[in-house]
């Protein structure tokens, strides 16, 4: 199945002699060969250099007022997540309560961005969160492996949307990607985007399985070309999950994509982000890579569960001057 021109925003450039040239990126998916040529033609990534850049940005010292601001922003960016076989409506209700009021002792603490659950739990979450402003995100497409027939994956998506999900987190077909069947990956994303209707689509690359930074760059571009609204690092079910260097590559991709097409895409690192210190490093990364336009829950999210309590503990310490302990925060 060949799909053309899914992306918006052709950009124009100047060829020789000042002639306007249409650089619409939609053309790149006109065939398997064209898509491969485009993706393989993207600039390479030097792994050591990328790791070093991420590490230096990790040495930024964010204190006092900057830290306060970053912690609050971090809380507002959390997609509070539960994706366990043992999830029940009771568990999801507790999570939703926490999402709306993360700190039981401080009503001024902002709510999180979204709650992220399996499709079967969406209806419960929607009921609990109605009117709160906290979104309901659902994983779909046979998360986390994606190893199911396409029809099943689309039904999975539609069910979540019908139950009220605002956002869909899909997984790409890693098998197809790693064997070079890029157009297949592309077409699947396009189909899921269509099945998502008005819901916002996050495309999970599962960077741990992609292994190289070159692959992360290519998969990022592929996902954006196919119409994703967000690119997301991981399912959180495979190690390594999110890392600073991988997120750096993805932030470069969304920055460059916007420069070429005019379209802004969001980024969500997920899995393995446990402490406020980690979260702040990610915010510094966003600030000094894609830029401050992305410093907003509409364009950057943390896929996390334990992170929230650490953010709350740090927030409390900044307010009271005392190191806190887990007894003072809810475990849901």
């Amino acid at each position: 199945m060949t799909v053309t021109a899914q992306t918006t925003g052709a950009t124009t450039g100047h060829g020789a002699g000042g002639r306007q040239v249409d650089h619409s990126l939609g053309d790149v998916a006109r065939s398997e060969a064209a898509l491969r040529t485009f993706l393989h033609g993207l600039a390479g990534v030097d792994q050591v250099g990328a790791d070093a850049r991420a590490a230096v940005l990790g040495t930024r010292s964010i204190k006092t007022s900057a830290k306060e601001w970053a912690i609050d922003l971090g809380i507002r960016m959390v997609d509070l997540t539960t994706l366990e076989g043992a999830d029940t409506p009771g568990k999801v209700r507790a999570l939703c309560a926490k999402a709306q009021r993360p700190d039981p002792s401080d009503p001024k603490c902002p709510p999180v961005a979204a709650v992220c659950v399996y499709p079967s739990m969406v209806a419960t979450a929607v009921r609990e969160l109605r009117g709160s402003g906290v979104h309901v995100a659902s994983v779909a497409t046979a998360f986390p492996s994606g190893q199911a027939p396409m029809a099943v994956k689309l039904d999975d998506t539609r069910a979540a949307v019908a139950a009220g999900a605002d956002e869909i987190d899909m997984v790409i077909n890693r098998g197809a990607f790693l064997s070079g069947r890029y157009l297949e990956v592309f077409d699947e994303i396009v189909a899921v985007k269509e099945a998502s209707g008005d819901a916002h689509l996050k495309v999970i690359l599962e960077t741990g399985e992609l292994a190289t930074y070159d692959n992360v760059r290519r998969a990022s571009w592929l996902a954006m070309l196919a119409g994703g609204d967000f690119i997301k690092t991981s399912t959180g079910k495979v190690a390594p999950a999110a890392t600073l260097p991988v997120t750096l590559i993805m932030l470069e991709a969304v920055r460059d994509f916007r420069a070429v097409t005019g379209r802004q895409i969001g980024v969500k690192p997920a899995g393995g982000i446990r402490t406020s210190k980690d979260a702040i490093k990610y915010l510094v990364l966003v600030n000094e890579t894609a830029g401050e336009d992305w410093l907003d829950p509409n364009w950057f999210r943390f896929g996390a569960s334990t992170l929230l309590n650490d953010l709350l503990m740090q927030r409390t310490k900044m307010a009271t001057g005392r190191y806190s302990g887990p007894d003072y925060f809810t475990l849901d």
Binding site: D46, G49, A50, T59, S65, L295
Partner: protein, 478 residues
Amino acid sequence: MPTFEYAPAPESRSIVDIRSSYGLFINGEFVDGRSGDTRKTVNPASEEVLAEVVEAGEADVDAAVAAARHAYDQVWGRMRGADRAKYLYRIARVVQERARELAVLESIDNGKPIRESRDVDIPLVAAHFFYYAGWADKLKHAGFGENPRPIGVAGQVIPWNFPLLMLAWKIAPALAAGNTVVLKPAETTPLTALAFAEICQQAELPPGAVNIITGGGETGRLLVEHPDVDKVAFTGSTEVGRAIAKSVAGSQKRLTLELGGKAANIVFDDAAIDQAVEGIVNGIFFNQGHVCCAGSRLLVQESIAEPLLDRLKRRMALLRLGDPLDKNTDIGAINSAAQLERIRELSSAGEAEGADRWSPPCELPARGFWFAPTLFTGVSQAHRIAREEIFGPVLSVLTFRTPAEAVEKANNTPYGLSAGVWTEKGSRILAIADQLRAGVVWANTFNKFDPASPFGGYKESGYGREGGRHGLEAYLAH
């Protein structure tokens, strides 16, 4: 007003204890200068006077060399390598123990950001002492003969850009090989060398093995021309290096020189572009560009010049210039008023000669010596800013079409210290590296240093190598 303001994150100054005045370190003790001449050292970020140090004169230099000679003849030159090793290990350990204090002191006296002195300079200082400690009792395996002997007394003069690191590069191999030293730190950055003298005391290094004498150009001249100095090691400007080479002519003195550079950083169209931008920025703005091996000429393949420069400018706008003790500072102060004047003069020449000058918006503090990171495009090989070493945060951009042209332009300089090559193609890296007339070639990276890796230049960038097995050669008798 940026969305994400990093609040001030100052490293505390309270860890250092700067005395109001220092003597000379001769024969294991701090002694007063004999002439009474002194000089003040200043914090370049604030122009605050830090301390008064001695301006060593002829009698002081004589005393220091005599102490080194005595220590060489009686103690150090006779000592078993395994024992020299243990002293050097002790020194390395004390440097590690006092790392934070030394880093803060270095930033205060030199002007470089604390992040650099903490994460780069001081760890490398300790590593150099560890590395050469390990050679002290293995010299017969180093490839310089079965029973290599030291030379004798080394007179060493170092620059102000990496004060304690340049001291380590000089002293560690000299001592490991069995020589004793008299070292003169740069006139604007004496404080970490004087702290090092204390470290020698803490390690109970035999008196006279290391002597530290402060002073300016005249003190340096007295030291390198002293008749009882057997080996001279100098890092600094090519102009002074040339004068030293003339002064040792006809003598038995051994000489190594590490001088200036005007390195080409060559970026091909298939480079990993984001990392290349980082490498360019690191190459010229690290340490405020006060680096002999700085990538001060960007040679970019014409086909990608425009997109590369866009990214480069965007990246330069993220550089944070300010208080060296703030942990988020990327660019610190220029080391002295004199250096600042030189940078300004050459930059003006750049504009006058027709190059296009650009800097990101940058607020310079009111006091202290500061220069905004600067880019010149439309530069040609004939421009002064393409030929002369600026030694500041100023990048000159030239283009090329073919690999041969890149190599030709890169080599078209009297200097030959270092070069950078950016391409994802391995065979090209190796072919270009073969053709570059430079003592250090960095491929897909820049400004990487390691005690195990030899460093030094071709042509007028000097001769001799520091670091690695090769770094022993200068300190062993032939």
